[in-house]
Symmetry: C2
Subunit: 337 residues, 2 copies
C-alpha cells in the first residue's frame, strides 16, 4: 500500500521536527554548562573504549520519542538507543509513517566537547526519507532541514530560530562536479573498529583514505588526488555537508546505521544528490543505472547535486561516473547488522 501526504501535512511534520530538534539541542547546551561545572560526564562503554554512550544520548532519545508519540501516536519510531538496548537486529522499516532518530550523532565528539555533534531526526513514508532535520547545537546553532517533495525545499538556518535562513544547496544552481575525484572534497571516518590485521576494516579504511589522497597515477593507479579529506567524527554531519553542497563525496561503510543517515538522505535527495552502496552491487554492468541504496544498507556513498557540465553530461551521468571512479579506487568493505 502507498501512503500519500499533502505538502501542507509535510510542512507541519517538518516544523514539528525542527522544533523538537531545537528543544533537544537546548537540553544538550544546558547539559554542557552543567558539565563544565561538574567537570565530568558519566560514560558507559558499549563495545570498547571508543564506542561510548552517555546518559545524554538516552535522555535525549527519550525526550524526542515522547514528543513524537504524543503528537503522532500512530507513527512508528526507530531510535539508536532503543535499538541498541533491544535484541532485534533486523532492519525493520515499513511503508507506514516512521520516525528514525539519532539523539546524538558524534558521541565521542560530545564527550570531548568537540563541536561536531548533531541531533538527527528523519521521517520516512513509503520507506523513503522525506523529512530530515539535522541540528548541530554547538556549531553556532546550525540547523539543516528539508522536505523531500516537488513542492518541498531544503534550508540552512543559522544563529538559532530567529537567525537567517538560506536555501540549499548553498550555491544554486550547484556547479558541475569536478569531473573526477581530482578536485573533490571527500569526507569519511576512521570508525570504531580498530583491529589491526591484514584485511581488517581499519586497514581498508586507511588504504581508501591513502588512495583518495595520493597523486593521480600513484597507488598503482588508484590515486585520487582529491582536494581534501575531512573526518569529523559524525557521519550525520559528513552527509549533511554533501547535501548542502559544502563537500562533494561522502564514503562510509561499516560504522553507520539508518539513524545516522535518514535525515541527511532526505536533505540530499531534495538538493539533487544521490546515495548508493559504497560497494558496487554484484552483477552491475558498466552501463546499468546505479540503484539508490536501501537506507539500512550500512554502506553509503553519497555525491552532491550538480548542474549539467560543459560536455553536456546530466547531473546523474556525472554522479554515476564519479561513483564508479570511487568504487575503482576503494577496497570492498563488508558490513553486517
Amino acid at each position: 500500500m502507498t501512503f500519500t501526504y499533502t505538502i501542507s501535512e509535510l510542512e507541519e511534520l517538518h516544523a514539528f521536527a525542527c522544533g523538537v530538534a531545537r528543544l533537544a539541542g537546548n537540553f544538550l547546551r544546558e547539559e554542557q554548562v552543567r558539565r563544565r561545572r561538574a567537570s565530568a560526564l558519566r560514560t558507559k562503554e558499549k563495545q570498547n573504549s571508543v564506542d561510548l554512550v552517555t546518559s545524554s544520548d538516552v535522555a535525549v532519545e527519550k525526550m524526542i520519542r515522547q514528543s513524537i508519540q504524543s503528537r503522532y501516536p500512530d507513527h512508528a519510531f526507530i531510535g539508536e538507543e532503543s535499538y541498541s538496548a533491544s535484541k532485534e537486529r533486523r532492519f525493520l522499516l515499513e511503508d507506514g509513517p516512521t520516525w528514525i532518530v539519532d539523539p546524538i550523532d558524534g558521541t565521542v565528539n560530545m564527550i570531548h566537547m568537540f563541536p561536531m555533534a548533531a541531533i538527527s531526526i528523519g521521517w520516512c513514508i513509503n520507506s523513503i526519507p522525506t523529512i530530515g532535520v539535522v541540528y548541530a547545537p554547538f556549531l553556532g546553532g546550525t540547523l539543516y532541514s528539508a522536505i523531500y517533495h516537488p513542492r518541498g525545499g531544503a534550508w540552512l538556518s543559522e544563529f538559532g530560530p530567529c537567525g537567517p535562513m538560506t536555501s540549499l544547496p548553498l550555491i544554486s544552481p550547484p556547479p558541475p562536479l569536478p569531473g573526477s575525484t581530482k578536485g573533490c572534497l571527500y569526507v569519511g571516518e576512521w570508525g570504531k573498529d580498530r583491529r589491526d590485521h591484514p584485511g581488517s576494516l581499519l586497514n581498508k579504511r586507511a588504504a581508501n583514505f591513502l588512495n583518495m589522497a595520493a597523486e593521480l597515477g600513484g597507488r598503482d593507479g588508484k590515486g585520487g588526488m582529491v582536494h581534501g579529506i575531512r573526518s569529523l567524527g559524525s557521519a550525520t554531519m559528513d552527509l549533511v555537508y554533501v547535501a548542502s553542497g559544502q563537500a562533494d563525496v561522502m564514503f562510509e561503510a561499516g560504522g553507520c546505521w539508518e539513524w545516522d543517515v535518514c535525515a541527511g538522505i532526505a536533505i540530499l535527495l531534495q538538493t539533487g544528490g544521490i546515495v548508493v552502496d559504497a560497494n558496487p552491487p554484484e552483477g552491475l554492468s558498466k552501463d546499468d543505472p546505479i540503484p539508490m541504496v536501501c537506507i539500512g544498507s550500512r554502506r553509503y556513498l553519497a555525491v552532491r547535486g550538480c548542474s549539467k557540465d560543459a560536455e553536456g553530461r546530466s547531473p546523474r551521468q556525472q554522479q554515476e561516473a564519479l561513483v564508479r571512479e570511487v568504487w575503482r579506487k576503494t577496497e570492498r568493505i563488508q558490513s553486517r547488522r
Copy 2:
C-alpha cells in the same frame, strides 16, 4: 632588548585584533553571498591543484595589513600572502611587536564552502605569541581569542559580537589528560603534498594516522587507540580546538607555517597547553625537559592544558609523557622553509 607592555595596552591590542578579524569575516561572508550569485570564484593554482589561492586571500590580507599599519605603523607585519609573493624564505621574527596573519586558513575549504575556514591574527612580543584571535565566520560566527599574560585570559565568543562569551578552556579547571594516547581526540591533516613513494610525506602521514587509530599492541606496538582522529582542513582550527580543550592533541608537520599557528599558540599558552616539535629534538634524553617549539619550526605537536591527575602528576608531566608517547608512535617528518 626586552619589550614590556602593560595589561591595558595588551587589552587594547586584543580588542583591536578582534574588531579587525570580525570586519574581515564580514567581508568573507558577503563575498560568499556574491559567490552564490556568481556560482564561481576565480582561483589560481600555487603549486598544484590542491594549493589554491583565491582573490579573497589577497584582498583580506591587504585589508588587515592596512588596518594594522594605520593604527600601529611601527609594528612589523608577516602575512601568508605577502610572504608567498616575496622571494624571502627565512623565518624573520624579531623581538619587537610583530603581527603574524593568515587572512584565510583553510582556503580549500573556502572554495568548497566547507565551513572550517578561519581568519588568524596573532601578535608577538619578545618573539612570544601574546595576542591571538581566530575567527571562523562560517561556523555561526565563532571567535576564539586570548591575551597571554598572568592577568590576561582566553575566550570563546559565539553568535557574533553581541552573543555569549565563555572563558577557555571550556571545562575549567580542565580534566587531567587520559594518561596515554588511548582516550585522546587527535587532530591532524593529510596536507597538500600528495607524492606517492616509499617514505614520502603523504605515506608518513598515512602511517601516523593508522598508528594512532590502531588498537593497543597493533602496528608493531605503535597502536595508539585514540578516541578519534579528526581532519578539518585547517591547521588553525585544529590548534584552536586543542587550545580550547575541545581536542587533546594536534600533530602537524610539513604543511604548516607560523601564520597558521601564531594566534592559536597564544590561546594555547594562556589555557595551559604546550606546543613542541613534532619530531623529538636531537640529543634530548628521556629526563630532559622538552623545549617549547620555535613558531617558525613548521612542525608542531600541541597538547591541551590539564589539571593534576589521580597519581599526582603535574600538568607538565602528563603533557610531556603524552608527547613522548606520540613521538614513539609516529614517523619522523622533515620539513624545510
